[in-house]
Every structure is written in C-alpha cells, then in structure tokens.
C-alpha cells in the first residue's frame, strides 16, 4: 500500500502539468495546448518536402529533384491519393459530409450521387437527336459538381464588429477556401431541406447539384440571400478599415 501511494504521488507530481490533457470532456481547444511546439503530428514534417502524388509526376521527375535527397512527407490516404480518378474537390465534399468518421458510407453516398447524375444526363445524351444538342449536355458529374460549387460560392460575407457599444454586421470579402466551404455547405443544407423526405439522399443531392450547375434552385437562392444581406449592410462596410 505504501508503495502504491508513493507511486501515485510520484505520478501525480510528474503529470500535473498535463493532467488537463487527459480529461476526456475537454475539446481540443480547451486543453490550453493549442499552438504549442510539437503539439501536432505534422510539426515534425517542417523540413520535409511534399510527396509525389501521381504516376505522371513520378515518371517525369527530374534527376535533381529535391525529393531524392530530402525527407518527404507521408501521403495521407484520406486526402491524397495516387489514383488517377482522385479529385481534391470531391474529397473536400466527402470531408464536409463526414459524420463520426464513417468515410465509407459517405464515399458510397458520393458514388451513388454521381451515378444518379450520370444516369439522368446520359439518358438525355443518348436520346438527343443532333450532335449540337449532345454537345450542350454536360455528363461528367465532377464537372457538374465543380460548376455547382462555382455558382454557389458567395463573394462576400458578414462579420460582426463592435463599435461604440453596438455590434454591426459588416460585409467583408470571402476568402476562396471559405467560399468553397460555404458553397458545399449550402449545397448540403439545401439537400437536407429538399422534399420529398422519403427520397434517398443521393437522389436529392444529385438534383441540387444539377440545379446549381445551371444557376437555379434553392442553393443559388441561399447564396443570393447572403449577397442581399451584404448589400443591406453596405453602409457599415468602411468599419472594416476605420477602427
């Protein structure tokens, strides 16, 4: 008993500084460990160079390429891939749809969405009479998705700035990363709103994507509402640079 209590005291003294890290109820931000040195796994890759991510790149690699003689970062299978079908924007959508780490499910959802889009578009394509009609039909689901995201990206957003004791909604430009995120978020949200509710997710998502690619539908309306709000608050725009 003496020994165990001694051990416990010793341990508690040792890990006193880090005891809050073991508390499971804390989120990552509450651990007071944010931004500390070597707090993330990628900190040790500071001096490493980016990996090769395609076969073409590998074959065309220069003899004097720095990857020959410098340490290389690892490939992260969930984000990066050696596959020729890999598309970063699709993996971004998958990452935003992801819930509880069930990536297989979300990948299947995306596959089914793309298949639905293709079934519709290629049905139109095969039934089209002339080549002119055919050339107008975009069948590639990834291109449609990119077009939809491009159409649904808002260019401004509102932020809140306190001035003279009151909060003002101030329109500021949207950064591209955040813009892409917002567009995908809008697409997903409008899919969740879509009716009928007994339809499968991939059916509704496919419809939303195809609508947004043509600059129509609920997603585009949501984007326009964001713009309208920004326009309403344009009087406060100068608060961004006048403090």
């Amino acid at each position: 008993m003496f020994k165990s209590s001694f051990l416990f005291r010793h341990l508690s003294l040792q890990s006193k500084r880090y005891i809050h890290l073991t508390n499971p109820s804390l989120t990552a931000g509450q651990t007071q460990y944010h931004g500390q040195q070597n707090s993330t796994w990628w900190d040790k890759y500071g001096s490493h160079v980016d990996p090769i991510q395609s076969r073409v790149d590998l074959l065309n690699m220069d003899d004097l390429d720095e990857r020959h003689f410098r340490p290389v970062k690892p490939v992260i299978p969930t984000y990066q891939s050696f596959s020729c079908f890999h598309d970063p924007i699709v993996s971004r959508v998958i990452g935003i749809l992801l819930r509880e780490g069930d990536r297989e499910l979300v990948e299947e959802l995306m596959h089914k969405t793309f298949r639905t889009i293709k079934l519709i578009q290629i049905g139109k394509w095969t039934r089209a009479k002339t080549d002119d009609e055919r050339s107008l039909i975009e069948c590639n689901p990834v291109n449609l998705l990119k077009q939809a995201i491009k159409n649904a990206t808002p260019i401004v957003r509102l932020t809140r700035i306190a001035k003279g004791g009151t909060l003002y909604s101030v329109p500021i430009p949207m950064s591209p990363v955040r813009g892409t995120y917002t567009a995908i978020r809008l697409l997903i949200d409008s899919t969740h709103d879509a009716r009928p509710h007994d339809q499968r997710f991939w059916t509704l998502f496919a419809k939303e994507i195809m609508d947004a690619a043509q600059n129509q539908g609920r997603t585009i309306k949501k984007k326009q509402e964001i713009h309208r709000n920004a326009e309403l608050n344009r009087a406060y725009a100068h608060f961004k640079w006048q403090k």
Partner: protein, 429 residues
C-alpha cells in the same frame, strides 16, 4: 464601383496567394498534374465488341464475350415486371436506351446442352453457381430465357424465387388447407408473368385444362377451360391465385408431352426453397418453404415424373434467407475476419463458401439431383476489355482519365474483373 465588384476583385487577388496549410498546399499540386485532358481511348476496329447476330438461336462459341442487343419487345415479354434483370443493370439500360447482354460461357454451355438433349428423359437440371458475389448469373439465365423464347418453348419462369418467402406481410393462411400458407400477390404476379411469357404459344396450341378445379363450394373451373382464362380468373379472384399456380403446374406437367411443347423451367436463387423463411406463424414458429402453397407447387416441377422439359436454376447468396426470428445467433458476425472487418458486429450476412454444398445443403442437393453444376466465373481478359469498351462506347465512363490506358489498368486493379464490382466502380466515374 459597387461593393460586390470590389469584393470580387479582392477575392481574385486572394486566390493567387499560396496557403501554407499542409493539405491545401499539396492538393493544389495534384490539380496541376492532370490539367491537360488526353485523347480518347481508341477502340480497335478489327475486334468488334458487339455481335452481328442479335438472335440467340444463332449464337455460337465464336460470339463469346461479345454483346448482343435484346429486342425491346422480347425484353418486355420475358420480364414484363422487370424482375428477370437486376435493378442496377436495368437502370443503366434505361440510360443507354438499349439492352445489351454479354454472351458468356455458362449460357452458351446451357444452350448447347439444350440442343442435344433427349427430350423423352426426365428433365435435366442445370445448376448455375457463382464463383463469388456478382458474377452475372441472372444475366446468363436471361440469355437462356431469351433463347427459349425465340425457340418458342414454354417458359415457366420464376425470376426472384426468394421474394415470396421474404414478404411476410403478404402471407395468409390458406382457405382450403390449414397447414398451408398462401401468398396471393406474389402468386398473381407469377401467373401474369407466365401468361405474358407464353401468350402466343398458349393461343396457338389451344392449351386447355384437363382437370376440374374446385376453389370453394360455389366456385370451380371446369375441365376444358383455356389456360389464359384460368389465369385471368385467378388474377381477378386473387384469393385463389396460389392454388392456381398449382393448377398451372399440374396442367403443364401432364400436357406438355402430348402437345409436344418443349418446356424451359427456370428458377433464380432456388436455394431459398431449402432454407427457412421470414413468414412466421401465430405461435412464433417459422413457416417452412414447402408449407407455402405456391412454393410447394413449383417444387413439383423439379420431380423426375415428367418429360419434354429442361430446368435451369441458379443458386446464390441472394437466395440465402437468414432467419429473422430464430437461429439469429448462428448468423451473427462475432469476430471480424480481416476482410470483413468493416462489417459491424451483429450484422446478419451470408459469410460462407459459395459452392453447391454450402448453398443448397444436403436436402437441396437431394431435391435437385441429378443436376449439371456449372460455375459462373468472373470476366476473362477479353470479356473485361469488351465490357470496358462498351462502357466507353455508351459514354458511361465520363472521367477522361478513365478512357486512357492508365485508367483502364486502375479499373482492372480495383475491380479484379468482377462484373458487379466493375459496374459499381465505373458507375461513379
């Protein structure tokens, strides 16, 4: 300059900034690599992937691995309710605006057997079994059915045999026999299928009943009624549909010999007839398949007491009915195999070998004996290439990388020449 345009310009300027985030940095590199689309895959002109003959009567071993187009009228007659083909395949056919089926070894073998069989013997049974999941048994069976239709055989087709035993809400106790269970909806759809399959043939041969059938004290069908009339009656009085299936089977078995009609009996996933069902009695015991009126009637087709017939059945994991009420414990996946680790513990799944003994068990084999087992394999190299070229021809592979050699190799690698896996993989590319 309005606010929005100024913001637009600022956003464009911001887009050229490089971001020091780990992912974003590496991701932009991948985009640059494939930015130039390459030329389309050129199909070799000297090796066509479609046959010139769309008539299954003329198909020989030279046509192996090639596609033939199914006449839309024939398709409607063979599977009026679309059950003879898998759903995914039908969806794709809808998009392609045509139904193309690959000619494969098992169906050619079966047709070869049908050509040389002695029709005076008891019916020969051919059992198609898969080498793994999704190798295209139903499509092989469809090809055989098409052959039968073209040869003007009497088609007795049960496209999804397991379905009857799974629709538990559909089952009602039989009015005439307390021990039996009726499945009116399934039976009436079976009757309709039978009628549409053989409408012309039945009219030509003037197929009339030989026996009198008494449905109840008031209702009966006298001998000499046309079979189509009998079916019409049963589909209206849906209560007697299941027993009408028995009547049809009886008539077919007795009259096929004297009328000299060659009969093709097909069952898809027949192994469900030798296992448990999902139909539950009020005392919580499970109904056996031969306690279902329709199934019992159809099982009589497999007996050797008639001739002028040829039986083709498939067995597969789709037909394995995993008991819902009892013995659930036996089917639980407790400790995941490394290949099945993605399955959740407690999920019901068929996880055994896909060979005859494990799918049919002793009883099933005894019921089907003697049979010719034919294994349906995965695609060969030629078949894979033809399928790939067909997809490109139909514009189904949209990703331009999928059309060059690298993409072809990757599809080959991912799917391992499994037809279903290939359809799934290519479906979203």
């Amino acid at each position: 300059m309005t606010l929005i345009t100024s913001c637009l310009i600022r956003a464009r300027v911001a887009a050229y900034r490089s971001f020091n985030r780990f992912y974003a940095n590496s991701v932009t590199r991948t985009i640059d690599v494939h930015s130039v689309p390459q030329d389309l895959f050129e199909s070799k002109a000297e090796q066509p992937f479609r046959t010139s003959t769309n008539d299954p009567l003329l198909h020989t071993e030279k046509d192996l691995g090639l596609f033939y187009t199914v006449n839309p009228e024939d398709l409607k007659r063979i599977s009026p309710f679309g059950k003879s083909l898998p759903l995914q395949f039908r969806e794709e056919c809808e998009a392609f605006n045509e139904t193309c089926v690959m000619i494969r070894q098992p169906s050619i073998d079966i047709i070869k057997l049908m050509k040389q069989i002695d029709w005076n013997l008891p019916p020969l049974k051919v059992v198609l079994f898969p080498s793994e999941l999704g190798v295209g048994m139903s499509l092989s069976l469809f090809h055989v059915l098409h052959y039968g239709l073209r040869k003007k055989m009497l088609l007795v087709n049960t496209p999804t045999a397991a379905e009857v035993l799974k629709l538990a809400l559909d089952a009602t106790p039989s009015p005439n026999n307390e021990l039996m269970w009726d499945t009116p909806t399934a039976a009436s759809s079976w009757l309709k299928t039978f009628a549409i399959n053989n409408e012309e043939l039945l009219k030509e041969t003037n197929f009339r009943t030989k026996f009198t059938y008494t449905w109840s004290a008031r209702e009966s069908t006298p001998a000499g009624t046309h079979l189509l009339d009998l079916i019409g009656y049963a589909t209206e009085r849906i209560k007697y549909a299941s027993e009408c299936v028995g009547a049809i089977v009886k008539e077919v078995k007795t009259q096929v010999k004297e009328k000299n009609i060659q009969t093709l009996v097909t069952f898809d996933t027949i192994n469900s007839y030798y296992g448990p069902t999902w139909i539950v009695k009020p005392d919580k015991s499970t109904v056996k398949p031969n306690e279902v009126t329709m199934v019992k009637a159809l099982q009589e087709l497999l007996l050797p007491d008639w001739n002028n017939a040829f039986i083709v059945v498939t067995i597969g994991p789709k037909g394995v009915i995993i008991p819902k009420v009892r013995e659930k414990r036996n089917w639980l996946v407790r400790h995941g195999h490394y290949r099945t680790e993605h399955r959740l513990p407690g999920v019901l799944m068929y996880d055994e070998a896909m060979t005859v003994k494990s799918l049919l068990r002793t009883e099933g084999i005894e019921a089907l004996e003697p049979f010719v087992p034919i294994q349906v394999q995965k695609y060969t190299d030629d078949e894979f290439n033809n399928q790939y070229r067909y997809y490109i021809d139909r514009n189904w592979i949209q990703n331009h990388r999928g059309r060059d050699e690298e993409g072809r190799k990757e599809i080959l690698f991912y799917t391992a020449k499994n037809p279903y896996e290939m359809a799934k993989f290519v479906g979203s590319r």
